[in-house]
Amino acid sequence: MFSYCLIDIFMSEYHLNNEDHEALEKFTKFFLVKSAQIIIQSRLGERKTTKSKPICSGTEWFHLSIKDIPEVTVNAKKCISDNKLLIDSPYVPFCVEISLRTPERDTMTLETWCISFDDAVTDQTQRVRFNIYNRMSTVLRSLLCCTRSTPTYQLSRKQSPDKYIICYRMYSGEPLVNHLGEHYLKKTIGSILTPIGRFVINVAYRTRLTISPQHEQQSYNLGLDIKDNHFTSGHRQTNFPTIDDDGSTGGYNDAQLPSEQNGSVPKSSPIEMMKRRHTSYDSEVSSSHGTPDKVYFSKLRTAFGPIINGTPHTLSEPLSPFSRNNNNNSNNNSDSELLMSQQDQQRQQNDKQMEQEVNRSQSNLYITGANDETAPDDFILVEVKPFFGKSDSTDDLAVFIRSCQQPPMLESFIIEPSLGETINQLSEELLVFESKVEEFDQLVSTLENNNNE
């Protein structure tokens, strides 16, 4: 229960005493965690409702009912604890980055939220346990309102695994805004003066989404455009701070954000949102109710494909997709566990099948890789367990059943003659038929005679 007396006979000093400093440290930690919760929860793609409680239980900070997603709290605390406190020099900012990810594993950074602290402006009249705490509450409310007012919010409400999903990343360091494209906008959400410095929350968000030519089809479905040069070196899509060849992380367009170019970005430990139990792109995120839900990345066709080396989105990248289709909420846990085990089986299956292909002459039964004409083990593999046969799917009976279920493509569908060839072929066939008209007539007459008899 957060109770205190109105009459405070101990006036604040011009510098923080130990007690106040400890209180400020504690408030700061929770302020950062709650900010991260607000930002990330607003990008889950669903409406939020929390109850007003006339009597608080003592667990709610800043008099606001914000339910915590445990994973976000853990990751935020880890990110904060990896570096010095925000209020201690060198005042390393805390950032939350929101990005969009398509089924083709393309990502686009949409916005960067930054909480910074500087000692340029102070106000010794601010009391930690009353003024600053209440100011933090006000700024968090502003953050709640403003997270609904950027374009990313509407995008996040329309996300789905087959179109795009919204991901997040937390790091300590200068905010990266160079991959927000041209004409990104910056807004200040609020600031809090303390006796030793000032907190400021800013957001920089993308305003233009233009597409690269090879993704036109997806862009039509997405309703998004990604710039042609978006993924070139000038706008590198890295998911954690890296150092360019020239030692800088790219130029910043604006000096108003606390984004001074240092030449090297602090190596914040990338936050892994999920446990990677599988080498595809399954991820585990927590819903707003605190129960883990699993993103159906595995529903993406490419999640089952081979890993493409050289893309900026290899498995080693700690991208943290967290949101998911609302329709998958209720059945995610059990379904995805089954799905993961099936994926493991499929991989073993594929390996064995590859061996069989080499050994057998009729090797067109199983086509792995990116062949779009047949998709034998396309999505979910259900292991064949034939009656009276071995449970092992390498058994002849099982193989036979599978071959019947997935017959090879007919040659006429594989080799498609051109229109000219088809016409020529038809002409030739007509000539042959015309030359044998008498034979056809004789055949028909024998049939008639047989019927009469």
């Binding site: 229960m1 957060f2 109770s3 205190y4 007396c5 109105l6 009459i7 409406r47 939020k48 409702t49 929390t50 109850k51 007003s52 409680k53 006339p54 009597i55 608080c56 239980s57 709610e60 008099h63 606001l64 009912s65 006000t138 700024v139 409310r141 502003s142 709640l144 309102c145 403003c146 609904r148 007012s149 950027t150 919010y153 509407q154 409400r157 807004k187 200040t188 959400i189 609020g190 600031s191 003066l193």
Partner: protein, 210 residues
């Protein structure tokens, strides 16, 4: 400038954003000088006629009180034959005790005014265009509101627990907003009295227009 059907959502979006900042948790006094503060919840609301989502304090009482006033403004504006525009005001005030038997005086300390101009659109293209513009404009207004609220301006504080109702509206069960009132007026020919004119002058001097 908005269409008639968008009035409620536009005004609700702005007023609820303001009220969310000008509201505290319910106070529970424990003894003479100590108290505990309740917790504020929030609820997202999707607009139907603009591509916008705003949030309000989770309180049915507050929602009802605000919706009622906005609805009255909506009806008055749309049913008026002469007025095509009007303004609706959200005013925060505090009560100051008077001497003797006089009732406490209400002194406004923050006034937010939203001016609405009705427009009639002829086709769907125009409607879509206006809808997009309005969405962008509303988002800008939200940022503007948060910027104004985060300024170090005057916010009244009760000097003692017994004087909470001079600053806060303590009639709500689950929350405690600052004392506020919503009023509106339609543009057009009106009979102005001296008193009304002076009141407007003072309000304009202190008020914040959106």
């Amino acid at each position: 400038a908005v269409e008639g059907r968008q009035i409620d959502e536009v005004v609700s979006c702005m007023f609820h954003t303001i009220l969310f900042h000008r509201c505290v948790g319910k106070y529970h006094t424990k003894g003479e000088d100590s108290y505990s503060v309740g917790t504020l919840g929030y609820t997202d609301v999707d607009c139907d006629f603009i591509d916008c989502t705003y949030l309000h304090v989770t309180s049915q009482e507050l929602q009802r009180a605000v919706a009622e006033k906005i609805s009255q403004f909506h009806d008055a504006l749309r049913s008026s034959d002469t007025a095509r525009s009007g303004q609706i005001t959200l005013e925060f005030y505090q009560k100051k005790k008077q001497r003797w038997v006089f009732s406490p005086e209400s002194v406004p300390w923050e006034i937010w005014t939203v001016k609405i101009e009705l427009m009639q659109l002829s086709n769907e293209n125009e409607r879509q265009f206006i809808r997009e513009k309005l969405t962008d404009s509303l988002s800008e207004r939200i940022f503007q509101i948060t910027e104004i609220i985060n300024r170090p301006d005057y916010v009244p504080k009760p000097s003692h627990l017994s004087e909470l109702d001079l600053v806060f509206d303590t009639t709500f069960v689950d929350i405690q907003p600052y004392l506020f009132t919503i009023s509106f007026s339609l543009d057009g020919p009106q009979n102005l009295s001296v008193g009304l004119a002076m009141r407007r002058l003072i309000k304009d001097a202190f008020g914040t227009s959106l």
